[in-house]
Point group: none
Chain length 282, copies 3
DNA sequence: ATAGGTTTTGTCAAGCTTTTGTACAT
DNA sequence: ATGTACAAAAGCTTGACAAAACCTAT
């Protein structure tokens, strides 16, 4: 057993951002930690202890109560999760490919129960969509499969989106440019942005730029995000977009968005997957 | 039985968007949930409980009373449904192909009873029509089969359309361009639009553009939707359509509609299946 | 017996478009429905109840009195009908193919008793004629069969046509162009038009355009309909037809009629099957 | 169709308890 | 470092209320 350096409570507290008092409380109340002691009785924490504290924090941030989070850490449930994500992604792909709705929903239920929405989006759903799109282009996935999977995932994500237009935060207007039909990544982006406290006005696929402008105007949006898979989707409306940029904060996203275009329009470029993009936008 | 971490009522409430008070009421009045408790008596919910709440919501949104929705969830009736849609679509195709009206109607009865109209349109009827059209082109379906299936489905959809011209909302005039006879997708579009609160004036197959203009004028329509399977269907009347666009809000739809044409005419393009198109139009 | 979820009266009313008051009246007066009740006495309807209401509506729309329609629904007469149309079409085809006049008449009697003329035309007779024509072209039907079937059906339809030249409405002159012998679809068209309140002057097969002109003139027709299976049938008389168009409202129909020709002549094009065409013409 | 009473169902309040982070005394 | 105290946040139960939806009867 390799014994790394041991930390005293003050140092551990600084590293994980949890007050010493709270660390002691977690130890006493939930037996979360069991540090060794110096001769004089000072606590000495190991790397494993730090891991446990971080897992505890992960549990709390997913909404578990302190008692439940500690129980999960003790049971190893949270550590398990890190190894669960990969297999679960494969399972989701398998169920969707054979169009087994029941099994797919169950897998999603399980994933969303164990992980935060953003984790599931980033690590499972968005990669799957990406993969499906590629297979579709190469003729390895049928139209029916593609339709089935998007319908099912759209249903789930929109169910999670309920009420995202209400609340307190600043408002983002989300839309696909005219002729663009891939709204799933945009929904994912909206969900990630909502998690960061924004309100979302979702205009969806194939939205005229004028509608975006009007919505942004009427609702007083802080940000308008336009998405397109093709650069042509933006270029066909470049004049309208430029006009929109003059009156509102605008960002472009999707594989059709490029730094050059963003520079020409004078708007923000959102890169990377939707969750990362939401992080950047917020 | 892997017991994941359990949630307290507040977090579950946040996840599903149902107030804690209502969750308790559903438990008390309908035994929808039976959460375990902490030593101190606080409720602790499992993943299965979240599933039940979401199923309850699904039931409510389909118009069930709270008591009935809860009963359906307890009986597992709603969870079953997710696996019902695929087989039902296959069954409908089978019954229509052998021209068994009674069985086809029964399948439709069952589907429409269990699901919303839009779900059935999107996932069963429209895909079937698409498939039938393809088979017909390849000579794999007979005229009689095609005729039988369209007549039966038209009958059902028009029965559901009854009274769609009456009501409160803004009015949409729907028509197929001259020589266009495929009115079923347009009916589906009308039904989806009605569900979104619109009133529908349905002019049907093979309608002169002048009739559309006159109807739009007389009834004061907010939107005129023209549908054609061939681009020639629109192009043959491009001048008339352009005139119509000058005086009314117009959208074109169907496989004959293209972004280029919509741009030339200065009207909206409705893409995707009729239900998606209705969403965009509304 | 799988008991699906039950609906309360409001939701059933929304689904079928019948007011709650009327649903209660049908229950009270005709025992159309027998819903179960909640403990508190609210009605709960099943899928079968919805079916009964829709069948009731079908009965009413075919002109039955409410009492009669309800009785028909209770007897299962209307549900039966749905299963009758497909088999009956097959039976008619079989009897005509083996030239069994007696059986063919019986099948037609039965069909015309149960359904409206237009339903029988659209769903049975016209598809049969279409199918017969195709088989004849492929050499799968003999001249004798073709002759027998047309003679028998012509007899029946003309019997139904008795008196269609008398009455109140505006007058339509119907004729096949010279050399055109297929008058059955035109008769069907006339019957459908008569059902819409028109009077019919039927000149039949192989009619000189001059005769059409004269009849239209003498009787004061509101519409002249010329039919041809081949485009050559129209083109051979294009000059005469153009002259006719100058003095009367004219429409062309049949597979020989095209949008281009109609445009050149400046007349109306009637597309689709005869019943649909009559709908368009009226 | 209206009138007058009942059921259903989401919401709320009052008063009390549990949970949990922090603080204080030893 | 330990043990105890405390207070804010979140929950619990009971009971009640009001709007919407339904009922019957006229």
């Amino acid at each position: 057993m390799a014994e790394g350096p041991q930390l005293r409570i003050g140092e551990l507290s600084r590293r994980v951002g949890v007050s010493p008092g709270l660390l002691r409380a977690w130890e006493r109340r939930y037996s979360l930690l069991d540090p060794s002691r110096t001769e004089g009785g000072l606590r000495l924490y190991s790397a494993a202890d730090e891991r446990r504290v971080r897992d505890m924090q992960a549990g709390l941030s997913r909404g578990l109560s302190a008692a439940e989070a500690a129980r999960a850490v003790r049971d190893g449930a949270i550590a398990d999760q890190r190894s669960t994500l990969g297999p679960a992604a494969a399972e989701l792909a398998a169920t969707l490919d054979v169009m087994d709705a029941e099994a797919a929903h169950q897998t999603l239920d399980d994933l969303l129960w164990r992980f935060t929405l953003e984790t599931v989006l980033s690590n499972v759903i968005l990669p799957y969509l990406h993969d499906l799109g590629e297979r579709w282009e190469r003729g390895k996935a049928s139209v029916a499969q593609e339709h089935f999977a998007s319908q099912l995932l759209r249903g789930r994500l929109l169910a999670l989106a309920r009420g995202w237009e209400r609340g307190e935060g600043s408002l983002a207007v989300l839309a696909c440019v005219p002729a663009e039909l891939h709204d799933l990544p945009l929904i994912a982006f909206g969900l990630a942005l909502r998690d960061r406290g924004w309100r979302i006005a979702f205009l969806g696929a194939d939205t005229p730029v004028a509608s975006v402008a009007e919505t942004a105007e009427v609702l007083g949006s802080s940000l308008a995000v336009l998405s397109s898979v093709t650069s042509a989707g933006f270029e066909a409306r470049e004049a309208e977009l430029a006009a929109l940029v003059r009156s509102h904060r605008v960002a472009i996203a999707g594989t059709g968005a490029s730094a050059g275009l963003a520079a020409r329009l004078g708007c923000q470029l959102l890169e990377g997957d939707p969750v990362a993009a939401a992080s950047a936008a917020a």
